[in-house]
């Protein structure tokens, strides 16, 4: 194998590995290449990266080679990490969002009753991210604030409206057949199905209208 064939292979290995990688490890992938040749190629790669204006470098750490960003890039790399983190939702946030989406409007105490942990911080994060908003006060002692989801929430999830939220049952039953669905009549599971209930109410309203 020619040098100009070996070099990109080693470069690809360094890139994809993420971690530092030993010469022995590279030889396992390229057993037909001499150890000295591999080292020669690694050094050549190191030089190539140093000579030109590159974002990365190849460093020797603990007798292993690693591709990393150059230290001069660190302000921007850190900024990217920060932005990335800021645009992420943690698992607790996601769970709280799910509860609010499906149970809105509800109070912080109600969220906490379900998750079993303090929800103040998480709700604040969700409000900051404009996914959740205050929608009113509950008319009970202390008139606590009630929370609901925002328009941004709908946009994120591509929902035309809240009624578009899939029911939990639909989700877990995607793999099941319709027949089985309609046979079941577990009332607790119906809790998350607005559509059918609205229909039944409509009927009864019409009846009450007519009876007037």
């Amino acid at each position: 194998m020619e040098d100009h064939e070996i070099k990109p292979i080693i470069e690809a290995l360094l890139f994809v590995s993420g971690d530092a990688i030993s010469v022995e490890r590279i030889r396992e992938v390229l057993p037909e290449i001499e150890k000295s040749k591999i080292i020669e190629m690694l050094v050549a790669l190191q030089e190539t990266y140093e000579q030109s204006d590159r974002g990365m470098q190849i460093v020797l750490v603990a007798s292993e080679y690693q591709m990393t960003t150059r230290s001069e890039m660190s302000p921007w790399v850190k900024k990217l990490e920060k932005i990335k983190t800021a645009s992420r939702l943690s698992q607790p946030s996601l769970e709280t969002l799910a509860i609010i989406a499906y149970k809105q409007p509800l109070t912080r105490a109600e969220v906490e009753a379900i998750r079993g942990v303090d929800a103040a911080g998480v709700i604040k994060t969700l409000i900051d991210r404009r996914l959740v908003k205050i929608v009113g006060r509950k008319e009970v002692a202390g008139r606590p604030l009630m929370y609901g989801t925002t328009r941004d929430f709908l946009l994120y999830f591509g929902l035309p409206n809240l009624a578009g939220l899939p029911t939990l049952k639909e989700f877990s039953d995607i793999a099941e057949r319709e027949a089985e669905l309609s046979e079941e009549s577990d009332s607790s599971e119906l809790a998350l199905e607005p559509a059918s209930e609205v229909e039944s109410c409509e009927e009864s309203l019409v009846t009450s209208e007519e009876s007037k």
Partner: protein, 259 residues
């Protein structure tokens, strides 16, 4: 192609029956194998081939989905229709529709996507030869998910996790029961103003539990009784509309507090 995984021949007849997922796939296979023109399918011939394949599948103890039998019936029906003489009594105004038309349309539609699937598969093959870098060891945030990539699946998965942790999953569903008719009356009145109309369905936007539906409905009946809102149905079976009346202006609902 599914047909690649040929079923083992246990019957000893020496036939090989590929595994077909559905009747359309089987039909396309027969059309291709026999080099038949899809726009002019010799129905009698293809029906015979189709039924023979079903027999072979049966003899191999393959379970035959209902779909295969429905198609068999369809083929036989088309075949019988095509045997009938063409009626010329009807003034030749309308050319009688070819009985094969609907089937051919379905086959073509399916074939189109089957071929597109083949193209996707070749993309898949190419993509499997390129590799991205393993993410940096900032994996402390493993559970986090980028907002841009959020979809409903994430939300539902999160909800499922919550429910899985609950000692009694019913908690999630009965929690809101404190929401009273009075709360809903306030809510309805706040949504309406004199002359403003809403679709009946709109007051149920965001309503999730059966309890809340009932409460909302009772609240609606109450505001109708109080003459704050009227219900209209402009046409038979048309949408119900709610209209705020002038009474909304001077009603402060204080009486509700005195219950």
């Amino acid at each position: 192609m599914n047909g690649l995984e040929t079923m083992e021949d246990v019957s000893g007849i020496g036939v090989k029956v590929p595994a077909f997922e559905g009747s359309l796939e089987l039909l396309l296979h027969l059309i291709k194998e026999n080099q038949v023109n899809i726009y002019d399918i010799p129905i009698a011939f293809i029906t015979q081939q189709y039924l023979e394949t079903l027999d072979q599948m049966k003899s191999l103890n393959l379970s035959i989905a209902g779909d295969f039998l429905v198609m068999a019936a369809t083929l036989i029906h088309i075949k019988s229709k095509m045997l009938l003489p063409v009626h010329e009594t009807e003034e030749a105004e309308e050319i009688e529709e070819d009985p094969r038309f609907e089937l051919v349309a379905r086959l073509l539609e399916y074939k189109k996507f089957k071929e597109a699937a083949g193209e996707l598969e070749s993309f898949e093959t190419i993509q499997r030869q390129i590799f991205a870098r393993a993410p940096l060891p900032v994996d402390s945030e493993t559970c986090e998910i980028s907002l841009g990539n959020l979809d409903m699946t994430d939300l539902l998965t999160a909800l499922q996790k919550v429910i899985a942790r609950l000692p009694d999953p019913a908690t999630l569903f009965i929690q809101n029961d404190e929401l009273s008719v009075r709360d809903k009356i306030y809510f309805l009145v706040s949504m309406m103003e004199p002359g403003k109309t809403l679709l009946f369905d709109q007051i149920f936007d965001g309503v999730q539990t059966r309890h809340e539906v009932v409460v909302t409905f009772l609240a609606l009946l109450e505001v109708i009784r109080l003459g704050l809102i009227k219900v209209l149905q402009l046409e038979d079976c048309g949408a119900l509309r709610l209209i705020g009346t002038d009474n909304l202006k001077n009603n402060n609902l204080t009486f509700l507090e005195e219950e």
